[in-house]
């Protein structure tokens, strides 16, 4: 019999789910495509994916990036941390099942096709750095939160300053949690990422990514060349 190790590298989350195409601007950009093959219709249910345990990483991590394509998209987002089992909850009661938030750097190798799960692009080791679980200060509202991403290269030069809010989600946080829980249970410790925003910035090996959500906290990590990182380990 074998023994399953617990969560890796100090992160102790359950399953991390994310929602794609949950940004109105992205849906507007792709509206014409949705009618064509292979999609043939706009999405009806939440488009979900899983960031498996090998992707989970903590604050300060150095994420290995493959030389091909040598660039990664930083789908910076907020995650709802489930505190109480959520099954078929209404939007009104949804947020009472959330015990905190994580700031997540949901990394993916750039890809345009949403027809098949992008496992090779989204599920690489440490491709989901997450902050500690952050308690929301009283009066914190997700739909009023702002998220700032700053990307700096090794010399400190800022290559991207990107900002997004959460007021324009296709499914707001409570609506998303409700719609997901309509067909599957979210358990304490599970995380539901609210999904990428339109125009997420890109980063390269050697860069530092800092994601701040004023009033909540921040997450910082670096990117390193995967071949050099593996060579150093060997």
């Amino acid at each position: 019999m074998i023994h399953t190790p617990d969560a890796r590298r100090g992160t102790a989350h359950g399953t991390v789910y994310g929602a794609l195409l949950n940004d109105r601007a992205t849906q507007a950009r792709m509206a014409a495509q949705f009618g064509e093959a292979p999609y043939k219709a706009p999405p009806q249910a939440p488009v979900l994916y899983i960031k498996p345990r090998n992707t989970h990483a903590g604050d300060g991590v150095a994420v290995p990036l493959p030389r091909t394509p040598g660039v990664v998209r930083v789908d910076a987002t907020l995650g709802l941390v489930i505190g109480r089992t959520a099954w078929q909850v209404t939007p009104d009661e949804a947020m009472s099942h959330v015990s905190g938030y994580v700031i997540a750097s949901d990394l993916t190798l750039p890809h345009d096709n949403y027809y098949r799960p992008a496992i090779r692009q989204r599920c690489r080791d440490q491709f989901c750095p997450m902050s500690a679980v952050l308690a929301a200060p009283s009066g914190f509202k997700v739909d009023e939160a702002m998220l700032d991403v700053q990307i700096r290269d090794a010399r400190g030069h800022v290559s991207a300053n990107w900002r997004r809010g959460f007021a324009d989600l296709v499914r707001s946080a409570p609506r998303l949690l409700s719609d997901v829980s309509a067909f599957m249970t979210l358990r304490p410790g599970d995380v539901l990422l609210l999904g990428p925003g339109e125009g997420s910035p890109e980063a390269h090996a050697g860069d530092t990514v800092q994601i701040s959500v004023p009033g909540l906290g921040q997450l910082r990590h670096t990117l390193v060349d995967e071949e050099i990182a593996e060579g150093a380990r060997a």
Partner: protein, 253 residues
């Protein structure tokens, strides 16, 4: 050896298969199959599933040819349920089908594994039935989670079988019955991407860890299952997994 986890009189127990198919408890007692509630045979890590990994199934659901790169999707642990469990069929659906699949359990961490080394990293095998509710299929990250990640719609078990007990996992008979009627009758040798290829592919871009589970896809013969149907999926030498379809789900207790 065959291993399982069961609940008996309120206790969760690790058991092995004893003589005459009885369950052998660590203290030497034996129980029959119906004296216990069966859990999934272990706590699994990442759960991978393969789409269209038998050429005949790809053809059956109207794909001209099976994919050249393995078509992988992921599942959450909420989907798993044990032997003799029930799976829910929503009231509004017209087509919910079973899928008998060989589950491969990783035993050692691996990254960038060559296919000739793959079997050394396999801990063992189990039988899986990966239901799909096709009414909910949409063309986004297909097959989407509403089709494939529903609570209790992936029965697994009864056993986890040590790898050393399966001489050739690429030559196992795979059969499914609905209410006693044989629906699937195939062999794992007909996989498009075999077990070493799947492990080599996944480990080429991500680390696999002990307890990770790879569902290797299903062959031709899937069929609609109605409320009340008893569905049996069996893989020779690995296990015969019984499941019953019931109506609308109830909230967890």
């Amino acid at each position: 050896m065959k291993h399982a986890r069961v609940i008996h009189r309120g206790q969760t127990l690790s058991v092995t298969e004893g003589a005459d198919g009885l369950l052998q408890l660590p203290d030497g007692r034996t129980l029959t199959e119906t004296e216990v509630s069966w859990l999934p045979p272990m706590k699994f890590g990442t759960i991978f599933a393969l789409g269209l990994n038998y050429a005949d199934h790809a053809k059956e659901i109207q794909f001209a040819k099976a994919p050249e790169e393995p078509l992988v999707f992921l599942k959450g642990p909420n989907a798993l349920i044990g032997h003799r469990g029930v799976s829910y069929r929503p009231a509004d659906v017209a087509y919910m089908h079973f899928e008998c699949e060989l589950g491969v359990v990783i035993g050692l961490p691996c990254r960038n594994l060559r296919r000739e080394d793959a079997y050394r990293h396999v801990a063992g095998y189990c039988t899986v039935n990966d239901y799909a509710i096709r009414d909910y299929l949409e063309n986004y990250y297909r097959p989407n989670l509403r089709v494939k990640n529903r609570d209790g719609c992936t029965p697994v078990g009864p056993w986890f079988v040590d790898a050393c007990d399966i001489a050739d996992p690429m030559n196992l008979q795979l059969r499914s019955w609905v209410n006693g009627e044989l629906k699937q009758n195939a062999n794992t040798r007909d996989m498009v991407h075999d077990i070493p290829a799947l492990i080599a592919h996944l480990s080429s871009f991500m680390t696999l860890s002990p307890g990770d589970l790879i569902l290797t896809g299903t062959p031709d013969g899937v069929a609609d299952c109605k409320v009340g149907d008893e569905v049996i999926t069996e893989i020779g030498g690995v296990g015969r997994l019984v499941n019953t379809i019931v109506g609308e789900p109830q909230p967890p207790a």
